[in-house]
Symmetry: C2
Subunit: 245 residues, 2 copies
């Protein structure tokens, strides 16, 4: 249909990278493209920390649950939601800061996500591979201390970037009819489609691992939503100034 | 540098659309590309409601604070964060649902944002213009009732899509040096760059409005962060099953 759409549809996470740096200027080009994404209420509420020091990378890899590609990728970026920068403007205009509503948390988090996804598309268009690292939220306090994140800033996720040294298959997604609904939310017809999709995912894992753990999408997400998930996040966010009022 | 990167850098919101439908198949193509974005923990936690009925569009336009392009765009999509679909899988595997942690809220919200931004890139690659509609969060209860969103699903934002009937300038973003930091968060050198940027934004508004309201970025965001911002969101989200534990 279109080169860009083909590019988007060929996305898969890369977890093995060549030992090859980006050429001069490419990272700034990619991040500039990232920054061109829309921003809620013109907040520009994303801040990116580029981490290059090997000792910092090693610590982040450990904080994320021992993900070695955090150390080995050519570039590692931490995308943060940031209401501090705008909060400083309150001081400038002698207004009292009230940026601790749930809404502020949403707009800054969405801003970080939109900028990150544009960065990803730009990176992939330039021949790079990427992997999001949500695992930074395993230890957000340690990550924040290492990166000296002040009040009003939190690490949403990390992003590995580099030249791919593997060529994994695209992971199948749920059928579009399950994801996109007409006029109203109606999932009454989804069960059979999800069952068929589960079979595809079992097959995908079987192909990829040469044996397969037999787990399907439904079972994976059932586990995800039946366990406490990073229960420290609420307290951590409050400490960082995201009061969720 | 690259057609896709040029495309990303040329983004601007479109608020005036031609009265022209999308050709058959294009919306599915765009949404399929959107769905190819990464998804946290493989949750696939985004659901999109496509709203076509004129009376529903008129209501959504009003809920969003009287934004007429919500009615007039060829397509209007509501991107929702969804833990219900995965929650149903807990039932299937006889696990108790515990998907009401802040972390679940983050992963589903980020999933919706990543899918939306990929959808936007695909749409713009196909010659369409877009406008995000965060204003749906002005009246999230009314929006959710209209779209019959069940517990575990909330509307993050809307998205207008259509053929542009205007050609606005790209809105300048903060200097990359303000947004991207090396190794640690350090904004001690940003004030002068932000002042210079504020001058650019004043000029941008002056050019665009042929007179200009004289407001700059700093002043806009100072106002945003000094006022209560959608204080109903917290209670609304709790009602929708996002307990923020």
């Amino acid at each position: 249909m279109n080169d860009t759409i083909d590019l988007l549809k060929s996305h898969r996470s890369i977890r093995k990278f060549k030992d090859q740096a980006l050429p001069d200027g490419l990272l700034a080009e990619i991040l500039g493209a990232g920054q061109s994404a829309a921003t809620s209420s013109f907040l520009q509420g994303a801040t990116v920390i580029r981490v290059s020091k090997p000792e910092s990378r090693a610590q982040l890899a450990a904080f994320a649950g021992n993900q070695p590609y955090v150390e080995k990728a050519a570039e590692f970026l931490v995308f943060c939601a940031d209401v501090r920068r705008a909060g400083n403007c309150c001081v400038k205009y002698e207004k009292a800061f009230a940026g601790d509503y749930t809404e502020h948390f949403i707009i800054a988090t969405v801003d970080a996500a939109l900028m990150a996804q544009n960065t990803v598309v730009a990176a992939e268009a330039a021949g790079l591979g990427i992997c999001y690292i949500g695992g930074l939220r395993n230890n957000p306090r340690q990550v924040s201390d290492l990166l000296q994140l002040p009040t009003g800033v939190y690490p949403v996720f990390g992003l590995c970037l580099g030249y791919p040294d593997q060529d994994p298959e695209v992971k199948p997604r749920l059928p579009l009819s399950v994801i996109v609904k007409e006029e109203v939310y109606d999932d009454s017809q989804d069960a059979a489609e999800i069952d068929a999709y589960d079979d595809r995912i079992r097959e995908y894992y079987r192909m990829r691992t040469g044996g397969g753990h037999g787990v399907c999408w439904s079972e994976q997400v059932a586990t995800l939503l039946s366990e406490k998930s990073r229960p420290h996040m609420r307290g951590f966010l409050a400490e960082q100034g995201f009061g969720m009022k």
